[in-house]
């Protein structure tokens, strides 16, 4: 093979990974595998917990909280979310997609309000679309499914609001500036950013914090996968009503089936605690929190993971959503935790194998998600759930 040929192959390979978007089904499979490996390595994947840690620190810094939160460079919550942001930032540079994208004022306001609403919902449900739905369901908790139902209702209401807004609120045309630059050097910067995360994990290992360092790398891997595929959980719920496309439901189904099987094995074999990621949110917290979160994610245009990766590629609206999510989830969660009555209202933890046994739990969950997929594909053809403005 000549040098020219090798160069050509490398160039094509780079193009496939960084200039073309990854197929949704493939990234669904990768997300499922990463989710299982992440749990096997240390803990399940989550996003809102990291945001809460950051929010805690902001309030502590302002002197509003008296107790010092867990150090954000040690908290595994914080490191997973930092990794997600880091990976999405690196991947968007590698694919020359990074730009500081301003949005019209009205949209920026929607980012803030959507973030606040999501923060409240995730505090109630014991996590966002990742920790409260995806990882909780994988962990064989019933509140994960309940939150999913809430997310559908919330996404539907959010879409109705957006339709109403289009008719009644004149926000003018777009025209907001977008500052991009250095397209030619972006891939080199991106490589540095991604290599930086490996150096970071290495330094952690030197300090006997290997578990934390590798969890950061898991976050980075999630960030790269999700940014390159533009894997948007919001669409798994909203698109059923908005465009009837079934692309993301396919990805979510692949991801969660793999994740459910992996978590079930880890828990059944006794390698991981059965109570892990089974939120105390059945039923009120998961259902009502899911509805609130679902509404907020459609207003903001990004869920827990979606807001973070879009912030990583430079979208100012989603940066605001992340900031206000962090502040509001910190306030709400601490408020709930300090009140016996609220804690009781949110609910108890329901671990499905305690009622059905492991075998039937896995069967029921798999059938549930296959049904979700079948309905989504059927809806793509018939458009039965499509909501017109």
């Amino acid at each position: 093979m000549s040098e020219g040929e090798l160069k050509g192959i490398l160039k094509r390979g780079y193009g496939v990974i960084f200039y073309e978007n990854w197929p949704i089904w493939l990234s669904g499979i990768i997300i499922g595998i990463l989710s299982v490996l992440c749990f096997a390595w240390g803990r399940p994947w989550g996003v809102a917990g990291g945001l809460k840690n950051w929010g805690d620190w902001i309030f502590y810094g302002l002197g509003i909280y008296s107790k010092s939160p867990e150090p954000f460079f040690q908290s595994t919550n914080s490191l997973l979310t930092l990794g997600l942001l880091w990976g999405a930032f690196g991947a968007s540079l590698m694919s020359k997609e990074f730009a500081i994208r301003f949005a019209p004022k009205w949209e920026l306001l929607k980012g803030c309000v959507g973030g606040i609403i999501m923060g409240v919902g995730s505090a109630m449900a014991g996590g966002c679309n990742v920790g409260g739905f995806f990882s909780a369901t994988s962990a064989l908790s019933l509140s994960g499914l309940l939150m999913m139902i809430g997310l559908f209702v919330g996404a539907y209401l959010g879409l109705r609001y957006l339709y109403w807004e289009l008719e009644h609120i004149s926000t003018g045309q777009g025209g907001a500036a977008s500052t991009s630059g250095g397209q030619a050097v972006q891939p080199y910067l991106g490589a540095l950013v991604l290599l930086g995360s490996i150096v970071f994990a290495y330094l952690y290992a030197q300090e006997a914090l290997t578990r934390q360092g590798v969890l950061l790398l898991f976050g980075v891997a999630f960030g790269i996968t999700i940014q390159r595929a533009r894997f948007c959980f919001v669409r798994g719920f909203r698109d059923i009503f908005m465009t009837a496309e079934a692309e993301i439901p396919k990805g979510i189904t692949f991801a969660i089936l793999i994740s459910i099987l992996g978590f079930a094995i880890l828990k059944w074999a006794g390698l991981r605690g059965e109570e892990v990621y089974v939120p105390q949110a059945f039923w009120f917290g998961a259902l009502v929190g899911g509805i609130i979160f679902g509404f907020g994610m459609v207003i903001a245009g990004g869920c827990g993971s979606g807001s973070v990766w879009r912030a990583g590629e430079g979208q100012v609206k989603l940066m605001l959503a992340v900031l206000f999510f962090a502040l509001s989830t910190s306030l709400t969660e601490n408020w709930i935790n300090n009140s016996e009555r609220l804690l009781k209202l949110m609910g108890t933890s329901v671990f499905l194998p305690n009622y059905l046994g492991y075998f039937w739990t896995v069967v029921v969950l798999c059938l549930f998600f296959l049904l979700y997929l079948i309905v989504a594909v059927w809806n793509e053809k018939t458009e039965k759930f499509l909501v017109e403005p």
Partner: protein
């Protein structure tokens, strides 16, 4: 080929992110006649996937896109 397109209407969706460009496109198309061409200006990278697949699903013809200074121009022919 894309350079020769003369749009009947232009929708400025710069600065908007998912799902607003699609919703605004939907609304703009409702007020247009069959065969007319809508030009959409966008900055969200997601729009490059979303607009063609929206047009295909809704039965409109996606004519193509063109990169400009810091944004992209998309062209859709109304069915």
């Amino acid at each position: 080929m894309v350079d020769e397109i003369k749009p009947d209407q232009t929708l400025d969706a710069r600065g908007l992110s998912c799902p607003m460009p699609i919703l605004k496109t939907k609304k703009a198309i409702e007020k247009m006649k069959s065969g007319e061409i809508l030009e959409i200006l966008g900055t969200d990278p997601g729009t490059k996937n979303d607009l063609p697949s929206f047009a295909k699903k809704a039965g409109h013809e996606f004519l193509g896109l063109k990169e400009d200074q810091g944004f992209t121009r998309f062209y859709i022919k109304v069915k």
